[in-house]
Amino acid sequence: MIITEGWQLEKVVDLFPETLGVLYAIGFTDLETPVMRHAAKLVTVREAAGLMGADSSRLVEDLNRVIQGND
């Protein structure tokens, strides 16, 4: 399975909690909390990167690297 820019952020962290560290690094420091989980439902990976002024292609790469165990 490959994470793409169009995935909801909530889906990413639900399916792959090991990605929390990557998201923490770009500024999402509390995605474990219920409120932030709700907020994660509202944005895609691309939009999440934009919220933090991060590069979305790089974020997708980093997320996929983690879920493929290459981190």
């Binding site: 500024g27 420091t29 509390d30 474990e32 409120v35 509202l42 919220l51 002024g53 979305s56």
Partner: protein, 277 residues
């Protein structure tokens, strides 16, 4: 509120950047509020800030998941945080201002219009070379007196009463798919008749995470007929994203803006109400 802050705040809420926040961090007339989770707040926060979580601002009511907390609850909450009726409040979060905006709207609804919002997510504070602290400031309890301003909110009855009013524009800040009914959270998908769609994230410059400039924001909203002379009603699914749209319009100086707090979590569930797709 200092004279400088008062002048800044004369035309509505203000947007502050890291430099401004740093310069005013010790100002006793300013209360900085961290609207992230308490867990995140305890890990580290802007010096002299106090924490108000979203769950402090909303309550489930009438089967609706996130409605504005009561006057008494808000008075008690703000008083406990040392916010008086003259205090200038600066709110920040780590989600593009969406939570800070909810505080902004709540304060304006309860008659407190001395407020500013940090420009984007608070990560930008750290990116500017500033630091967090774990020290929680002690503040003196105040006696905040709320004065609800019904012109800042829209009930379902108000919306129905103005559904054909040409002076009123409904601003749906959900995604295009939610607006079109392709994605539905709840019983029905679609939007309120005559509503226009500007996704809340269009207000964010995705290269920096900051809000777009006032000129850019104005152009985006005006292209959809959202103009200063109209009465604007923002809505989303349950009033969170709508608060962001509300904030952006208020920052632009739009005087007549309401938040339909119940939003689609109410409208979408009532079969007898008209929808468009």
């Amino acid at each position: 509120m200092s004279k400088e802050s008062e002048k800044m705040n004369a035309n509505g809420p203000v947007v502050v950047d890291a430099r401004w926040l740093k310069d005013h961090i010790e100002d006793p007339e300013i209360r900085i509020i961290d609207t992230r989770s308490s867990i995140d707040y305890r890990k580290g926060h802007v010096k002299n800030s106090l924490n108000i979580q979203i769950s402090d601002l909303v309550k489930a009511k009438r089967g609706l998941p996130a409605m504005c907390s009561s006057k008494e609850d808000i008075e008690s909450l703000l008083s406990s945080k040392g916010i008086g009726n003259q205090t200038f409040v600066i709110a920040y979060d780590n989600f593009g201002g969406i939570f800070a905006s909810r505080l902004l709207w709540t304060l304006e609804y309860y008659g407190h219009e001395r407020i500013g919002i940090f420009n984007g997510s608070i990560k930008r504070w750290l990116d500017a070379g500033e630091e967090f602290t774990r020290k929680i400031p002690k503040v003196q309890k105040t006696d905040f007196c709320a004065n609800p301003n019904e012109r800042r909110t829209a009930s379902i009855d108000w919306v129905l009463g103005h559904i054909d009013d040409p002076k009123v524009k409904f601003l749906d800040v959900r995604t295009k798919d939610e607006f079109a009914g392709k994605t539905a959270y709840g019983a029905r998908g679609g939007h309120i008749p005559r509503a226009v769609n500007v996704h809340w994230l269009e207000a964010i410059d995705t290269t920096t995470g900051a809000f777009k400039s006032n000129d850019e924001l104005k152009a985006i909203y005006e292209s959809k007929g959202i103009t200063r002379g109209k009465e604007i009603v923002t809505y989303c699914w349950m009033g969170l994203r709508a608060s962001h749209g509300y904030s952006m319009l208020r920052v632009l100086g739009y005087p007549f803006v309401r938040n339909y707090d119940a939003s689609w979590s109410e409208w979408g569930e009532i079969e007898s109400l008209a929808i468009e797709r």
